[in-house]
């Protein structure tokens, strides 16, 4: 009997089995991503600390009379850099579109990590360490798009 919701009985069409087992590729992607996450967590704090120290020292040397009442200049620079990277990634997204599958796991992971940092920043907006971590993550995300552009360019150049 035909149902009102499915008058043509499309639901009677058989289920379709995938031609290949997709699990090994998915598992490899997830494992890569887990390794990347472990590495990110370990190295990010080191990178963040290094970036903050470098910026602070650089800015200190160029500003002989620091204003202690204002937020540290390093923080402003990091926020500005984060905004610039945000704009750059948005532009890449609109111009390049979706990333290839092999980059997808990294993209999702980086966006997750950025969301985590944003959550921490909402509670602690003046933390230079958090802004520095955000800048590093945005640089990584922007790098994914740059790699895609580089690959597309090489492919076109080889034609």
């Amino acid at each position: 009997m035909q149902k009102e919701t499915d008058p043509l009985n499309l639901g009677t069409l058989p289920a379709v089995a995938p031609p290949n087992d997709g699990w090994p590729a998915i598992r490899a992607g997830l494992e890569k991503q887990q390794r990347n996450r472990r590495w990110s967590r370990y190295s990010l704090s080191t990178l963040a600390a290094a970036a903050v120290v470098t910026l602070a020292v650089g800015l200190y040397l160029h500003q002989p009379v620091p204003d202690t009442a204002a937020p540290p200049p390093a923080l402003d620079s990091l926020i500005a850099l984060s905004q610039q990277l945000e704009t750059r990634v948005r532009t890449y997204r609109s111009e390049i579109g979706a990333l290839p599958m092999e980059s997808l796991v990294y993209q999702v992971e980086l966006e997750d990590l950025i969301a985590q940092v944003d959550e921490e920043l909402s509670a602690n907006p003046d933390s230079a360490e958090l802004w520095s971590r955000r800048v590093n993550l945005m640089l990584d995300l922007s790098g994914l798009y740059q790699n895609k552009l580089r690959r597309d360019y090489s492919r076109m150049a080889s034609l």
Binding site: K3, A15, P18, G22, W23, I26, L30, V105, V108, D112
Partner: protein, 191 residues
């Protein structure tokens, strides 16, 4: 209420293990849902390679975002939404395909219809629809999406969904009714 092939219960233990990144639990989820996921992807984009790619991307997204699954609705619905979103996004990225003309389609599938019968008739007719029409008729009639949900998926209005559904059904009916005697959907069933 339409019962979708996706409606598979997942035990809490497997879900909890997968949330913690346990790959064996992820594999169990993949094995449980691979067929309904592939079926939806394939019905929306009738190309096996593309459907395979859509499924892989959808499962990777699912496992990556599993921590964001709140558990206030069945897991299968959440997974299906991800698969459907990937499939719709895939048809948007592709250049507009022109639906196959009926005469052409009929001539090319005649012997196949004789061999396989009803399912092949319906399947071939479905494959001739334009990508959006095919997705809408499948999501509405088989997966039980309502017009509001379909409109949201395509970023359009409810009337867009209603018009496209009606057009897709009419086209399918026309294609199925035009089969010569001995090869029609109904004679295949009766015979």
């Amino acid at each position: 209420m339409v019962r979708t092939p996706f409606e598979i219960e997942l035990d809490d233990m497997t879900l909890a293990r997968a949330r913690r990144g346990d790959l064996d639990a992820c594999e169990r989820i993949y094995r449980l849902f691979q067929q309904p996921a592939f079926t939806v992807a394939y019905r929306v984009c009738p190309c096996r390679e593309l459907a395979e790619e859509i499924c892989q991307e959808a499962f990777i997204t699912t496992f990556r975002k599993l921590r964001q699954f709140r558990g206030d609705a069945p897991f299968w619905g959440w997974l299906r939404r991800i698969v459907v979103n990937h499939a719709i996004s895939s048809i948007r990225k592709r250049p507009k395909e022109s639906p196959v003309e009926f005469e052409e389609h009929h001539a090319s599938t005649e012997s196949a219809s004789e061999r396989i019968g009803m399912a092949m008739d319906l399947e071939s007719a479905l494959a001739t629809l334009g990508a959006e029409d095919r997705a809408i008729v499948w999501l509405h009639d088989v997966e039980g999406y309502n017009h509001l949900e379909i409109a949201a998926l395509f970023g359009k209005t409810e009337s867009f969904s209603k018009t496209r559904l009606s057009r897709a059904r009419s086209q399918l009916k026309r294609l199925l009714a035009a089969d010569p005697p001995g090869q029609t959907l109904h004679s295949a069933v009766a015979g």
